[in-house]
């Protein structure tokens, strides 16, 4: 039954450009796919590894800027893709090594600092990034000679990427390594005593998350044909986090739903309300205070973990299992 529902949903998604005629809405749908990929990648860290980050837009943006730089230097799209991903992975490695020095709150604050550094570079290092003016590109890849200029064509290309992302996430979640990542989230102390290398497990999860942020960032670049410092601002990281949290972190569906939700609200809100940031902030507050489980049920774990004020040295047992004699 579940398989049928999934297949049906994917079929619907695959045929969007066929039953949505208006290219504006097809583009909105493309945005949803791009951010769904980003949110899925972010959830590897936030949901599965239990590491909340407010700097991930930095990685997304690094990929976009790297891609734009390479494209404008005349490189072919394969080189661009590989180059952008490698640069972002290197950045993710640096982020991870630094951020993993902290736990919980410390981790968040370090990611904020890292995100701000990336933003500062994007905004101020004008010779590198063109500052506030941003960087434009005017090409899209032509896989197998097919043009991606039209909205439906780009939508389908994004859909393919989305499918690959979804598939790789599903494999990751079901894998022994995926189980290790979740174990390290729930009981890092025990995991160490069981023989796992918790730091390395988290580090690799960070890189995996960074890889998909890079792919999403590159896709965004090709979609938008433009990247600016706004992409790596704190509010962008906050939006991404909102996508993951509002949808729920415990399932693969959650981040997808969250991405759709945030994009819909952003686009609808901007039609009726001029101030999107206000709405974003209000949603954050409401969800954090009233709906910590997120909208897709079953993501209790992250918030139980967040709500249990434990110091890192104690076992992170979040279900109150201290039946001390």
């Amino acid at each position: 039954m579940k398989r049928f529902a999934i297949a049906l949903a994917l079929l619907v998604l695959a045929t969007v450009p066929l039953w949505i005629g208006n290219s504006y809405y097809v583009n909105v749908a493309t945005q949803m796919l791009i951010y769904a990929v980003f949110a899925l990648g972010l959830n590897v860290l936030v949901g599965y590894a239990g590491l909340v980050t407010l700097g991930h837009a930095g990685l997304f943006g690094i990929a976009a800027y790297a891609g734009a730089t390479l494209i404008n230097a005349g490189h072919g799209h394969v080189t661009v893709a590989i180059g952008a991903c490698l640069v972002t992975l290197a950045a993710a490695a640096v982020f991870a090594v630094l951020a993993l020095r902290g736990t919980g709150l410390g981790f968040v604050m370090i990611t904020v600092a890292l995100g701000q550094i990336v933003w500062g570079i994007a905004y101020r290092w004008i010779s590198l990034t063109n500052g506030d003016n941003g960087v434009s590109i005017n090409v899209r890849p032509q896989p197998f000679g097919l043009s991606l200029e039209s909205a439906p064509a780009f939508y389908w290309a994004s859909f393919v990427v989305f499918l690959v992302a979804l598939g790789s996430m599903a494999i990751f979640v079901a894998s022994p390594f995926g189980a290790a990542v979740r174990g390290a989230r729930d009981q890092p102390r025990r995991m160490t005593a069981l023989g796992y290398n918790v730091w390395l497990t988290r580090f690799i999860a960070f890189l995996f998350s960074g890889l998909w942020s890079a792919i999403a960032g590159l896709l965004y670049l090709y979609y938008n044909q433009f990247v600016s410092p706004q992409v790596v601002a704190l509010s962008s990281s906050a939006e991404a986090l909102l996508m993951v949290i509002s949808g729920g972190t415990a399932t693969l569906l959650g981040p997808i739903v969250g991405a759709v939700l945030v994009i819909v609200m952003k686009d609808i809100a901007s039609a009726y309300i001029e101030r999107w940031n206000f709405v974003l902030g209000a949603i954050f507050v409401v969800i954090v205070v009233f709906m910590p489980e997120g909208l897709v049920p079953g993501s209790v774990r992250l918030w139980r973990w967040a709500l249990a004020s434990r110091r890192p040295t104690l076992p992170a047992s979040a279900l109150g299992e201290e039946h001390s004699p």
Binding site: I171, F172, A174, S175, P176, F177, G178, A179, A180, R182, G183, D186, Q187, R189, R190, M191, T192, A193, L194, G195, Y196, N197, V198, F208, R301, P315, S317, A318, L319, E321, E322, H323, S324, P325
Partner: protein, 245 residues
């Protein structure tokens, strides 16, 4: 060769000496009990042996090799396993998955991001067997959250046994259990083969004494009395320390 040997182990937190020049020698296959009043430093000693705490000075060896500087995770690979005083299972997972995670910790599979964990038949069979050894095979598919406290205590032990350890550290395995449950767990522990050396911390004297061959009494981080069960039970200092217990 001794199974576990601790020499001159010291640990202080600020001004507080929690482990003071502790010597401990456990022979292969032995059943050693560590007792002492609250705050005596028993769990701290375990944490030092597993490496979760670093000693200020002293040495720890496992079957002749010095593990004082060895990382905790590697000690697991060398055959050291432990249970925890506060139950630290993986919430939201089934009992089977809990024990599978334990087995996975020693397997190179733990780095594999593409295989299906549920398809690793050998691993899962091993986990099922470990659950069987503690009499919980019938609850393998039950989520941890839906099991009774006594059952979770046994899962703690299953997780440690699953790794086929050479030295097993049990931290208050009877805590919070009813009298019948204690009997069951004792029988379980009795059934463990002599290939496994067991060191147990316990508070409950009745059941623990049945288990013990040799006893070490800790107080304020120091070894006060040590010897066979009979020797320690009769020792005047033991009675002093446990006055009123």
């Amino acid at each position: 060769m001794t199974a576990l040997e601790v020499r001159g182990l010291n640990k202080s937190f600020g001004g507080l000496r929690v482990t003071a020049a502790v010597d401990l020698v456990v022979e292969p296959g032995e059943r050693r009990l560590i007792i002492g009043p609250n705050g005596a430093g028993k769990t701290t000693l375990f944490n030092l042996v597993t490496g979760e705490l670093r000693p200020d000075s002293g040495s720890i060896s496992l079957f002749g090799s010095d593990i004082t500087r060895v990382a905790t995770r590697r000690r697991a690979h060398l055959g050291l396993a432990r249970t925890y005083q506060i139950i630290t299972l993986f919430p939201g997972e089934t009992l089977l998955r809990n024990v599978t995670l334990s087995l996975l910790g020693l397997s190179p599979l733990r780095w594999n991001p593409v295989a299906r964990l549920d398809a690793q038949r050998d691993l899962i069979a091993g986990a099922r067997a470990a659950l069987g050894r503690v009499g919980l095979e019938h609850l393998a598919e039950r989520p941890v959250g839906q099991t009774a406290y006594g059952e979770r205590r046994r899962v703690e032990i299953a997780m440690a046994l699953a790794q086929n350890p050479k030295v097993l550290l049990l931290d208050e395995p009877f805590a919070g259990l009813s009298i019948d449950e204690r009997r069951d767990v004792l029988a379980l522990i009795d059934g463990i083969s002599r290939d496994v050396t067991i060191v147990m911390i316990e508070h409950d004297m009745d059941v623990a004494l049945e288990f013990a061959e040799r006893i070490t009494v800790l107080h304020f981080g120091q070894v006060i009395v040590e010897g066979t069960r009979a020797e320690v039970v009769e020792h005047p200092r033991t009675k002093e320390i446990y006055l009123g217990d």
